[in-house]
Amino acid sequence: MQAYSWIIPFLSLVSFATIVFFTIKRPRLSAYISISAVATAFVLSVIILTEVLKNPVSSEFTYSWINLPGFKIEMGMLVDPLTAVMLMVVTIVSMLVQIYSVGYMAGDPRFSRYFSFLSLFTFSMLGLVLSNNFFEIFIFWELVGLTSYLLIGFWFEKKVASDAGKKAFITTRTGDLGFLIGIFILVSAAGTFNFNEIFHQIEANTIPSALITISAIFIFCGAVGKSAQFPLHVWLPDAMEGPTPVSALIHAATMVAAGVYLVARAMTVFAAAPSAALVVAIIGAFTAFLAASIGLVQNDIKRVLAYSTISQLGYMMLALGLVGFTAGTFHLMTHAYFKALLFLGAGSVIHAMHTNDIWEMGGLYPKMKITAITFIIASLSISGIFPFSGFWSKDEIFAVAAQKPVFLIVAILVAFMTAFYMFRLCFVTFFGKPRDQKKFEHAHESPKNMTIPLMVLAFLSITAGWVGIPWLKKGFSSFVYFHHPHHAEPNILLMIGSTIVALSGISLAYLMYYKKSISTEKLKKKFPFPYKVLYNKYYFDELYNTIIINPILSLAKLLFRFDLGIIDWLVNAFGDFTVFLSDVKEWFDSHIVDGGVNGIAYVFKVISSGIRKIQTGQLQNYALIIFFGIVIIMLLKFS
């Protein structure tokens, strides 16, 4: 069955083509095509997962695409446990999000186009997951970037949305440039694009370690861009301008996880370059902390979730940087479910309230029970409360971070902040008094096609982590592993500690936003500076504006003036000179050449107008002349 795994992405490509070419005018049909394609892909992924579970080996299928002497580029599939898990995650989230979108996007004028983009995205993401070489993964890497751009700017009539799309595309492209350089370095050293061949060479120590370190850091640049890690994290919060299901699918569950997946896939490279791996861990930890602290004070429900996503991705990077392959990928999987659920829940709330500002919501619990309960389940999961899935994956990360106490402290701090800001959202949105009575009146539970995906994801958010319970004999860690199946020893102390941290975060949020026994206003007054800095996201956008964007803009303006002043002037001057030259030629032509021609004609005209007078048309004249002619001839002849 693994040999046919190419069908999984191919189905979505077919659906994309069908929608674009045939059913663009029939929105319902387009949605069904897209959903049935991804649902079939999901079924196939389940089959592949069960087969890989039975026989956990990595199988590779290649088709050689470009053959050059001594060098070839392949298209192929690499199906190993990591791929199988990723296929499951992507297809299931994609399927649920597409079902949800039918309700959420109902009545949108570009409904079909939306589903065609979703299909294209699903195709690209599945292709990325299945890739067996760097060349192929880069193609799909860029394709997911493109679809992300298309979907962020889906409502391009809004300037913020189209700007956000551009920002996302350009920012991730910056990272991709590094990725490309990394690939080039690695490939020029190894002589092949193929993952396994490169990894074998690295393990056989045939590639200089300095090259490995450099290429690892460059490859990580790509992951930094795609997974919105510091310093390229600025695009993800803005990407929230896209439709909410898109945020759930692309900017929470799957595409942003591609960076994590890439690092996991290239684990051998990072494992062989300890300093590069350390960079990954440091960036991950720093990003996790930075984003979580910004998330504390944001007021836009989707932005809080976006910073939460960045922070959780930082977690995964932290784990991978410490070569916690299992922990990173495990958290990637559980995070996909609960973060997709959080976004879809937020979408449901936004659908009901027509606002993103949490301070205009409140008291929604009685009106939207399903949304509220599922949202709280996801929040408990992300906070790491026993026995929700986030608890198990977070513990794995803590266990890995425990290698270096600094990272453990950061991870615990982040866990505390995560619990706090998530329950801040929950309490402000679903409990307390309604703040905007008018909007509250209109609020209603979302339709079934939106709530059912929520419930399925809620179920997954609770149970997905159970495959990684450390007491299990054959759990996640004995299936997805790097080199050796590592058996995470259940660390009761850490578990209790993390639960205490999460509970204290939740209680603080409870006290501040439900009981209101700690006044937020007073805190704001007491610490105006930290609040302002956090509220303005550490001024990263402003910083980038001043040090990168504005200099580039002014350089562009300068070049524009240079263009206008020098280049255009030169071109115009040349043009003017040519016009002048042709004026001279024109004068010569019309005066000298034409004058000559006309002059000759004039001469003949004058002569002939004299001579023509002889031709009177009167035969008698001619006869007279002939007569005199003969007389003269006679006289000359005979005299």
């Binding site: 023509r612 031709q615 009177t616 048309g617 009167q618 035969l619 008698q620 006869a623 007279l624 007569f627």
Partner: protein
Amino acid sequence: MLTLVHYLSLAAILFCIGIYGAITRRNAIGVLMAIELMFNAANINFIAFSKFITPTLLTGQVFAIFVIAIAAAEATVGLAIVILIYRHHKEINVDKINVMKW
């Protein structure tokens, strides 16, 4: 005694009258008549030379008969042209007819 010179002189005078008439007459019919005069001057020459130079041969006289025949045909064509011109221009004054001018 009438000699060859007398005949030739008559023919020359007749021819001159013909030329004069052909050149100066305004009326197209008159021009045609003047041309007839010139033909006949030539005929007199033919016959005179035939009589005085080759009395035994009749070549000149036969030639004169041919000329008369051809002159008759020519007069027919000429008169036909004149009639057509007249129908077209209501005019037989040769001075006024200058359609052959450039």
